[in-house]
């Protein structure tokens, strides 16, 4: 769309081409800015409320910047033993980190085998895995809850970490990546006498670093944000994670919106910071996979 390609009668006869272009620009930026406000206002409101005393919440006029900035909401929820949000934070961090690391190991091993190895049953097994991607999660809720209860994993981090490892997404993701790699390096190593595990660890995995990083971000976010399953399995307050913890927080106080927004900030901030630094990466992974959500 270069300027040399003067369109025939594309612009209004009353205005010059340049003037019309300018007007279009202004309209575009106005629209984009309004949408930006709609996105940002609720987030600013969350931060703003979290620094307000309860007495400032229901005033006649709304103050975006609190008249009196207080950290009381934060100290209050961090020190209340019935809503141990500091503990929940550590629990979430532990669960999300362990889940992510285990998934990376298990899924890259499996993905590599489905991409690169010939073995009887490969197509059938992988086809079966893919078919389950079409199954809605709701049908696994009750039976998996029964299994987890039977195995004594209720109120235990293993109850959220282990079932998550069954997910097919990571295997599929890694297989797609390994298939896109050129085979020559691995074949050369095989001729040199390296075994399959050595080839995988010393050649394939180093080449897969970008894919592994993308998968790590997706899985960490997914695990950190998991709500329903964590709500079912981790019932004791001491072992709760942040997401069901927010629901506990909501139920523990009435109209203490400052406290609740402080809780929301504690849950949202790590993810927002992660997003600011890895924004291109996260957006790219969504654009290319288009799967999760």
């Amino acid at each position: 769309m270069t300027a040399t390609l003067t369109p025939k009668e594309n612009h209004s006869p009353l205005l010059g081409y340049r003037a019309e272009k300018l007007l279009k620009r202004i309209a575009l930026y106005t629209t984009l800015s309004i949408v930006t406000l709609i996105i940002v206002i609720p987030l600013i409101w969350m931060f703003s409320t979290s620094f307000k005393l309860k007495s400032q919440l229901f005033t006649k006029d709304i103050y975006w910047i609190p008249k009196e900035i207080t950290l009381e909401n934060y100290t209050k929820i961090l020190n209340n033993p019935s809503t141990p949000i500091g503990q929940w934070f550590m629990n979430s961090l532990f669960v999300a980190s362990v889940t992510t690391v285990l998934k990376l190991v298990i899924d890259s091993l499996a993905g590599y085998a489905y991409a690169r190895m010939e073995f009887p049953g490969r197509k059938q097994i992988f086809g079966l895995l893919l078919a389950t991607l079409f199954l809605p999660g709701v049908m696994f809720l009750v039976p998996n809850f029964v299994t987890v209860t039977r195995l004594g994993m209720l109120n235990n981090f293993s109850g959220v970490i282990i079932p998550a490892l069954a997910s097919v997404f990571g295997v599929y993701f890694m297989r797609q990546f390994f298939e896109s790699l050129p085979k020559e390096l691995e074949e050369a190593a095989q001729i040199d006498g390296a075994n399959r595990l050595q080839i995988f660890l010393q050649i394939a995995v180093p080449l897969a670093k970008p894919a592994l990083a993308t998968l790590a971000v997706i899985e960490f976010l997914g695990s950190w944000n998991d709500f329903l399953w964590a709500l079912l399995v981790l019932k004791d307050r001491a072992v709760q994670t942040l997401q069901p913890g927010l629901r506990t927080l909501q139920g523990a106080y009435t109209s203490e919106y400052g406290l609740m927004m402080a809780g929301a900030v504690i849950v949202a901030l790590p993810v927002l910071i992660l997003y600011i630094f890895l924004q291109r990466y996260i957006v790219q992974s969504v654009a290319t996979t288009g799967l999760k959500g």
Partner: protein, 304 residues
């Protein structure tokens, strides 16, 4: 290729060792429950009291289809709530992202910034966004009614009266997830070769004509994909009503006006001790969803 030949010659256990760790978890938490969910649905089942398990045959299903029973009313009310949410959320979740993607596909300074901002809510959790919007929609101290009042407009009780409770949930959801669809649209738009637009422009097509005759037809596969995945995602609605409205307001006939089917299953199986009945509901819902995706998949395949 020599490597591939030697590979075929002798049977090796190695590949199976590579896939085994994942396959074990897959078998226990995806393969097994596929069948055990069906099995459980034939029982009156309370996981915490295994001794109280009673085989009831198809009773759990019959309850769901026996007109007039409490379970029937509650279940089909919740299905209707879910369907209402799907019908009124999906158009916004498709059209708004499409418009934003088209706008951000124009090469102007700052587009990467806007793209990053629009996508940001998606990285937040359901619990966080529900809590934020729950506070914004409050009648006492809520941000929205404050400004509505200032403008001299009506100030409804958003979270406890209809249709406002449903509208609140839809607004929160659109705000939360529109960036996701936008990114997928944007990726698809960037794949459309610019010379097609240039050719259309030479033929005197204005921007609207270019959108209708170039963009939309080329975007059709992605559009279908997004519509299907968004319908399925909306069908899974749970966290927002759980935290924003708790299913309220109550319906005169039973059930809640914003209680979707996922919340019904949650209540039945995990608040009340009826896992058998919840499993039966899950089977019914899952069957509908699978038929829906399969039908769409077939139509999608046929047309291309």
């Amino acid at each position: 290729m020599t490597a591939a030949v030697t590979r075929k010659h002798r049977f090796s256990l190695t590949p199976y060792l590579f896939i085994l760790p994942h396959l074990i978890f897959f078998a226990v938490f995806i393969g097994y429950p596929f069948f055990s969910g069906l099995y459980i649905s034939f029982f009156q089942y309370d996981v915490l009291r295994p001794e109280a398990t009673v085989f009831v045959g198809l009773q759990n299903y019959l309850d769901l289809f026996k007109a007039g029973s409490v379970k029937f009313i509650e279940f089909w009310n919740s299905m209707q709530v879910t369907l209402t949410f799907v019908i009124f959320s999906v158009p916004f979740l498709v059209v708004i992202p499409l418009v934003l993607a088209v706008l951000l596909n124009i090469k102007v300074p700052g587009r990467n910034f806007f793209r990053a901002v629009y996508f940001a809510p998606w990285v937040l959790s359901c619990a966080v966004i529900s809590l934020i919007w729950w506070w914004i929609f409050q009648s006492q101290g809520g941000l929205l009614n404050y400004y509505l009042k200032m403008l001299g407009l009506e100030t409804p009780r958003w979270l406890s009266t209809m249709p406002y409770a449903m509208i609140s949930i839809i607004i929160a959801t659109v705000w939360w997830t529109m960036g996701y669809n936008m990114i997928i649209f944007l990726a698809a738009l960037q794949d459309i070769p610019t010379d097609l637009y240039e050719a259309a422009e030479m033929d005197g097509a204005g921007s609207w004509a270019r959108f209708v005759h170039v963009t939309l037809p080329l975007l059709r596969p992605v559009l279908v994909f997004i519509v299907i995945t968004t319908i399925i995602a909306s069908f899974n609605l749970l966290g927002q009503p759980m935290m924003m409205t708790r299913g309220a307001p109550a319906q005169p006939t039973g059930g809640g006006a914003t209680e979707p089917v996922m919340l019904r299953i949650f209540t039945e199986g995990f608040v009340r001790p009826f896992q058998g009945s919840a499993a039966a509901m899950s089977v019914v819902v899952a069957t509908i969803m699978v038929i829906f995706s399969f039908a769409n998949f077939r139509i999608f395949r046929q047309r291309d």
